[in-house]
Symmetry: C2
Subunit: 472 residues, 2 copies
């Protein structure tokens, strides 16, 4: 009976929904012509090769490029060469300095009751273990809250383990909630006198023995302790061992060696597409050049640099946009948004027409959010229309986001966000598996087309190259 | 036109096929009753917990158990305890000795033109590199045949790389063909004076940065060289680097440390289900207890031990089979079939009713092959009928196979093979990812049901426990 009723409701709900969907506002002939021009340049981008070649070449010819290291410096030199050869203007480095934490030898062994090795990776800013490592009993918690509630005398001198159960989500929203063991766990464990801390990798792959690294920092005044991540299968294993050990806690030996240097060199790489009005506020399109050290940073974030750069090049090659496009390949995102904060300090008070970033892999764009302000609602709707044919659903008109640009988004700068499908993003994130092999070329091209469409709206309209030629 | 003709042929082919399919021979009332009894015990096994608990407990409480090591000895002690507590008879170890190769520190770095680390694992029986490793130019070959054709002066002093393009197949048949770089490559490279050899991992996962280890051996009189496997993404990377380097070959530094000990202890663990006729030839069901060192050997082959043992226990718990069932958990399979050869030397000349092994993961059984001889064709068909309801297709009646039992299969002993779906087997094979996390419980249970059905045929008929009670 309930089933029958549900069926009737479902049948009647459909036409109701169709009737209440907002009718699109009628478009003027000029708007229709603009949409057609945008569609043409957007759809041509579906055979793009530039994004792939940036992704392949950077990850092959440089590989991992941890922020502040000699490898990131090679990546900046590579970026200058590539952006120059692509024909962009004002290609340059904005340098800054930063502290650099580097991974050394690392190993975790269960000593008892079931001796075996576990796969571990130190988290960024972990303390280095003394020679011979740290050996201690393991005390396991299901969450940061459980650790917080534990009396210090229970934790003191032990190796803390914190689990979680992060699910795959399309928008990656689990990262904020389930990242707590990595972000807050080390400080709380250190405050309670723990000898070290291991967290279940902040990742969604359940079957791969890949630890997910990532940055964390100890709260002011807290003495750092060694902090690492176990792969998900190893976290499962440790949880099983803890359960079987009962009152007799398992013993673990942990070696996490690392070095910390102050005042190392990093920088943002910047390039531009000039606009018709050189004084117009630029459209900022960005990504980050640095990567974590375990993979080659194809998904995070060489592909992002490929996508935004390929889109900007398509606009440049089509002619001259109304406004300048500023491409920024941020340095030192992974380890604390150093590049984004440096840019903000230097240019954050200057007008920007829109700020945008691609830093969520290379899978397809599925939704567009923007926050351009009430006066620019027409532009925001044009942006939605420009992306819908690529299967991109219209999202928020009052919210946007980004990683390096996050602080400037918080400052209130106008911007847009082309949201990518993140279903498998946290399978790969910060692991050795982040290599060119995970990039899906068809989805990468859809990204380039979406960004090209977005730039055609936000930086446009474009004066075609033929029309600009007489001015030379 | 061709399409139309093909359509007509397809339409007419269907009834023809249906008409030519062999009609099943009519079954006697006794055969039908036997099939019903087998179906009952088989289908009860679909809720089995024994196979899972063996797989979980062995991989948790022992973990990796490289043949001939102290870990494998702990695994044997564990096996004796478990098989005894499950109620089997004559639980014992058949010891033997063997040489043991053990992995040490290993690391591969491209020195130029694009400095970066590559993920490598030594192959079993690799020579150990000298202190500081081996540094040399890389010479790449697409196949073993290409290496074979190369003049020795081109190879001398270099680090050889061999690629391949192994596809996923349901029956794992690619392993024989595509395993050549690992099996023959090291000897050929050593004969031509190579400093070392790296092969593309003999595996089908394209996106995971897991090297696949595995055993190889140098031909008689050939001086061993260091030999390792790159993960598939790292092999892709090296191939790209070689291509970009052109005449200026890339330089690689390789550290593969290892130790070799002679005369180490291993052994087969044996247990039995007594039959009504103690002198009847036994049905041998087997698996291997040892694992490679990188994972915890859940797929290869704790699950196999779980499957065959769970099935034998179901027969034992149901009553007394006509013939004894002999369970063998072979030692030292991975590194050269030492356990299988020891068993063959001791018992290979004695009659066996059938020999069988489960050593191809834990995914579902999809085909049954057997070679019981012409006189036992009725038994072979009964075996096919017993498994068909589980979706297991009838296969060969003249061929069977197995790993540890392979030499005895070659000797001509009768046997059967429950072929498992191997589509993802070589994604996981010999990598760190071979852990409990890859086991699919539903498929594991289908395996137990198939083996229970097979044992009910081959060791049966079973005298029910109630019928045997009066004899006590």
């Amino acid at each position: 009976m309930r089933i029958l009723l549900a069926g009737l409701l479902a049948a009647s709900a459909l036409p109701v929904l169709a009737q209440t969907a907002p009718a699109p506002p009628p478009l003027s002939a000029a708007e229709q012509a603009a949409d057609r021009a945008i569609a043409t340049i957007r759809d041509r981008a579906l055979d793009d090769e530039v994004a792939w070649s940036i992704t392949e070449d950077l990850t092959t010819e440089v590989g991992q490029r941890l922020a502040g290291t000699e490898a990131e410096a090679r990546a900046r030199a590579w970026a200058i060469r590539r952006l120059t050869s692509l024909g962009f203007a004002n290609v340059r480095i904005d340098p800054f300095t930063m502290p650099v934490w580097e991974r050394g030898f690392e190993r975790a062994d269960l000593v008892g009751p079931y001796p075996q090795r576990l796969v571990v990776a130190a988290l960024g800013n972990s303390a280095s273990t003394p020679p011979g490592g740290v050996t201690g009993e393991v005390i396991a918690f299901a969450s940061v809250d459980a650790l917080r509630a534990a009396p210090a005398e229970q934790v003191r001198g032990k190796i803390v383990y914190i689990g979680h159960d992060m699910p795959r989500t399309q928008d990656g929203s689990g990262y904020g909630i389930y990242g707590a063991p990595r972000r807050q766990g080390p400080t709380i464990a250190a405050q309670k006198g723990a000898a070290a801390i291991l967290v279940r990798s902040i990742g969604t792959d359940r079957e791969h023995r890949n630890p997910h690294t990532g940055v964390m920092s100890f709260a002011e005044g807290v003495k750092p302790i060694p902090a690492g991540a176990l792969s998900n299968p190893d976290a499962d294993q440790l949880e099983r061992v803890v359960k079987r050990s009962g009152e007799r806690r398992p013993t673990l030996r942990l070696i996490l060696e690392s070095t910390l240097k102050t005042n190392q060199q990093s920088g943002n790489v910047i390039a531009e597409v000039p606009g018709r009005d050189p004084n117009a506020a630029p459209v900022l399109v960005s990504c980050h050049l640095d990567s974590w050290d375990l993979g080659t940073g194809a998904f995070d974030d060489a592909a992002g640099c490929g996508i935004v750069t390929a889109a900007a090049k398509r606009i440049m090659d089509a002619g001259t946009p109304a406004r300048p496009i500023r491409i920024v390949w941020f340095g030192a995102e992974e380890v604390g948004l150093f590049g984004g904060l440096d840019y903000r300090a230097k240019y954050g008070k200057l007008p920007h027409h829109a700020i945008m970033e691609s830093d969520f892999g290379a899978d397809r764009v599925w939704r567009v959010d923007s926050r351009l302000g009430e006066a620019r609602i027409g532009e925001a709707r044009q942006l939605q229309r420009a992306l819908l044919p690529l299967g991109v659903v219209p999202g928020s008109l009052t919210e946007t986001d980004g990683s390096d640009i996050g602080p400037m988004v918080a400052d209130g700068l106008p911007g847009a966000a082309l949201q990518q499908d993140g279903t498998r993003y946290f399978d790969i994130h910060h692991t050795p598996d982040d290599t060119l092999a995970v990039i899906d070329k068809a989805q990468l091209r859809q990204n380039v087309a979406a960004w090209t469409g977005a730039l055609a709206v936000l930086a446009g309209p474009i004066t075609p190259r033929s029309a600009t030629r007489p001015r030379r």
